[in-house]
Symmetry: C2
Subunit: 213 residues, 2 copies
């Protein structure tokens, strides 16, 4: 693998933004674009886009900019979304159920294939075509699936238990909706989603707008 190992996490997040912008350009039948046009479309600087892409290679064509289809294909491969991923879900409460039914995952290539809960009323059931097992079974059940990614959607006080069960079942990539920092072996990647940050983005603009008006 010639790819450098230390890519900033923020660059990786921006690759997803670039992929979405390119998906839209493809749908609109646009053949070429440039870092300047992409920057305007997304709300970043052209320099930032060029710097991010430079981590992964040379994508532009002198005098033409980027070919939309090529850049899309290459970035999708770098992000690993040129394939489908199977996903394990920990917790089928309200958030978990919402994620189970979330079409946005399927659209981008992520299929929830197995779910876990500790509620005896839910264990053994099949929701949205996904069988629910007891979380204690995760170490035995997960190796029988192709799941490589796990999502933790349980209250904070149960998050570490689900995380441990996922790790014992062989998962090395975990998305957590619980606010707590989770303890894992070094080879496990955990990404925490903080929905309050999205509201803070709005409160910034609301604050700025109201002080202008």
């Amino acid at each position: 693998m010639s790819r450098p190992k230390k890519i900033p996490g923020t660059t990786v997040s921006r690759l997803s933004i670039y992929v979405r912008a390119l998906q839209k350009l493809r749908q609109d039948g646009v053949v070429t674009t440039s870092s300047e046009k992409l920057a305007e479309q997304i709300g970043l600087t052209a320099a930032q886009i060029r710097k991010d892409l430079a981590y992964f290679g040379q994508f532009g064509v002198p005098g033409r900019g980027y070919y939309v289809e090529n850049l899309y294909t290459e970035l999708a491969a770098i992000l690993g979304i040129d394939r489908r991923w199977q996903v394990a879900l920990g917790g089928v409460g309200h958030l978990g159920y919402a994620l189970l039914a979330y079409n946005g995952f399927k659209k981008q290539g992520f299929d929830v294939v197995v779910a876990f809960d500790k509620d005896p009323a839910k264990v053994g059931q099949t929701w949205e075509g996904v069988k629910i097992y007891d979380i204690a079974q995760a170490p035995e059940v997960l190796p029988q699936t192709e799941a490589q990614l796990g999502i933790i959607a349980v209250p904070a006080e149960n998050a570490q238990e689900v995380c441990d069960a996922f790790v014992a079942g062989g998962l090395k990539s975990i998305l957590s909706f619980a606010p707590e920092r989770l303890v894992t072996p070094d080879d496990v990647t955990v990404k925490r989603v903080d929905l309050a940050m999205e509201l803070e983005w709005l409160s910034y603009y609301a604050t700025n707008a109201s002080s202008r008006g």
Copy 2:
């Protein structure tokens, strides 16, 4: 207002990350930090942090770096989270209910005070202390509340209807979990949350790790 009007949205998102890092340093009793230390804590470059902060003023003290408490207080004020915000919720299906019960919002100063749905079985009920109204009532009900932010948590096909009702009720800042682009007047800010992007971040690292191992 002397603040420049054109701050990149990505800079605003990073302010939330800086605020969280500073919250943690405060909890740990750390008095001063630096752009280099913050960069290491967060996984960004020191230059990026200095550039982001420079949009808003001069925060560092020569030879000392940043005072954690001061920088936290200033960034919280810039983000508008030095106060509490009242929030309206559109849709109390699984995702909406999960958001209604989400502690992370309250912790950062966001209180859901009113909810809307179109399901007659839900309208009129009070969940988690929040009264649920028919979405058609939003234009009359919202002005009677202090809600300034709205969250859309309905299926894609209903998102525009909820958005229109929120705008008619006077909301100018809307967070949408629906994948569709929403049509709004120019003075309304809409932020869309795309949960699949979080999984893509993981798929990047999983792809990279498996090709190394």
